[in-house]
Symmetry: C2
Subunit: 339 residues, 2 copies
Amino acid sequence: MKKYTIRDVAKAAGVSHMTVSRVLNNNPRVRANTREKVQKAITEMGYEPNAMARAFVTKKSQLIGLVVSDISNPFYAEISRGIEDKAFDLGYSVIFCSSDENTHRTEACVKNLLRTGVDGMIFTSVHLKEPAAEKLIADGFPVVLVNRKLRNPNCHYVTCNNFQGSYDATEHLINLGYKKIGIISGYSHLSTGLDRLKGYKKALEDHGIPQRPEYIIETSFSADGGFEAAKELLVLKDRPEAIMGGNDYIALGVMDAAEALGLSIPEDFALTGFDNTDFAARSRTKLTTVSQKIYEMGSIAVQIIVDTIDRKNLDYAHKVVLNPNLIIRESCGYQLHKK
Amino acid sequence: MKKYTIRDVAKAAGVSHMTVSRVLNNNPRVRANTREKVQKAITEMGYEPNAMARAFVTKKSQLIGLVVSDISNPFYAEISRGIEDKAFDLGYSVIFCSSDENTHRTEACVKNLLRTGVDGMIFTSVHLKEPAAEKLIADGFPVVLVNRKLRNPNCHYVTCNNFQGSYDATEHLINLGYKKIGIISGYSHLSTGLDRLKGYKKALEDHGIPQRPEYIIETSFSADGGFEAAKELLVLKDRPEAIMGGNDYIALGVMDAAEALGLSIPEDFALTGFDNTDFAARSRTKLTTVSQKIYEMGSIAVQIIVDTIDRKNLDYAHKVVLNPNLIIRESCGYQLHKK
DNA sequence: CCAATTAATGTTACTGGTAACATTTCTTGG
DNA sequence: CCAAGAAATGTTACCAGTAACATTAATTGG
């Protein structure tokens, strides 16, 4: 269990410690038989380089900071898994922090990660305006945004085409014959909330269906938010025939509200979600939703951040927008709806 | 954005760098007005200590390694959140690795974490025999097991009383009048699988109900596992009246199988789960299950590991066993069952 | 009021790697 | 076969902190 240093190895192999360092770093300027000699000493002694010393001197920790809103939220957990796997492949480890969607806590996370010495940070849940992230970017610190974007478009990000996904879902409802379509949208100070709302509005517009302000409610991306909003929407005199959930959690909350109010889905109203999370296929009514490549987003984000870390001075921004996919299940009915 | 060192601060404050170091470490051997002078320079210059240098010289990274079977599994994600929050409070950051329940990958995770220089490791999903973890423990490296335990009891762990939880659930079924009770258990090379199986058997025994080997199937803690096993159990000539899922995922798979076979829960058979994960209350049939304090387990594990890191030579093992709680919903029916 | 003691501050060395430059050893071609 | 250049190896310094000891300043009691 004794910890050896390169100098110990050097002595054992009868060379200087620099030669050992060169062998360790695959420097070609080492003769083959010297390399073998050193390699032998290394394996015999069970030498392991001291990561801390190396990080200290090279100013590279091989650590990526990950700021999620809540790691216990399966959506973010899945992004995290995508991030972890790719990071592992590229020789990085990842430290995660939950920000709880809270600017204050986000700042604490960033400070903490900076203190820990991460080489770059990935944010999964920025607000359109997020001072902590923006400051990092301004300072030239490697940052990649996943899932949600900042207002400022001049940064690396990978997202789903939320506009398109929402547009498609809305159009699907319209094609089924629904006209009175409400939306319980995520807050529009979040890019995901905003883009999905825009997609919804554009689809209505393109099909000549007027917007009705009372059919649009913004809330948090949570079952509770969906539940409360649905209770408002479903008691309207002129109740919507279809409700779009800003994500699957909101849709879940809508289902809870429907149950509480004695309404059935899709008989009394249609429902859509967004994300195609695991439980969407397993809920009481199987949910029609928009799937996005969650795991892949994480994986791509790592690719980008490592790129950025390695050749620091990228003068362009990586922008990756993945295509979503409408998954049709039973929550909108299958028949054309009565006019 | 310039990076200052303690020597820069020292020069600015007109003291030696050691005095700055003392101020930084709250060493009482600094006169009040010297301390102020230094403090002032620190804030004015925006000095931040270099974590890498500090970690290097103190041999302490303030990093905890976390090995979960899969971060995208909500159960582990919630443990992780408990771990993260407590670690944050105690000044640690956490690096996570997903092992996929795979000995090989577990070894890779451990190696990776060791290389990164973590001060200790938390394992959430060891097998009863897990060479990588056992070696660490043998070497005196700080390790805490959460959720699952090793066969070797001489290590720190925090788990739920799985035996008791399973016993309670079984007894609940018995009290409802069920006698033909099957179990789709997690693999018994995992402590959770084994203990829950034991609890089931003991409850049957205590109530004088003979075990029927064909009613016991072991599988992975997954919906797929539950689905496949349920298909076997539910086509038995003498079908069980009740099935206990080794965890909520297995129970979910059982629900899928029931649907596929045209059976209703609880009319055709009763069903229980374990863990009280989020979706247990939201599944088609609301699931009677055993809740455990998932978040708390993580939190306690951090407490223990930090303890262990700080006063390395603990000569006793922390063993924390939390009590589970039976959550009765609708999947077992509410009436006493016909004999 | 000054010697003895204690408190405050400073100096030097050290951690385990890598960078930069110096030196030695090997090639190669005239 | 040897000088010149290239390749291999070695030396020294450095990173930004902390530990251990040295020195200086302040306090205290006879």
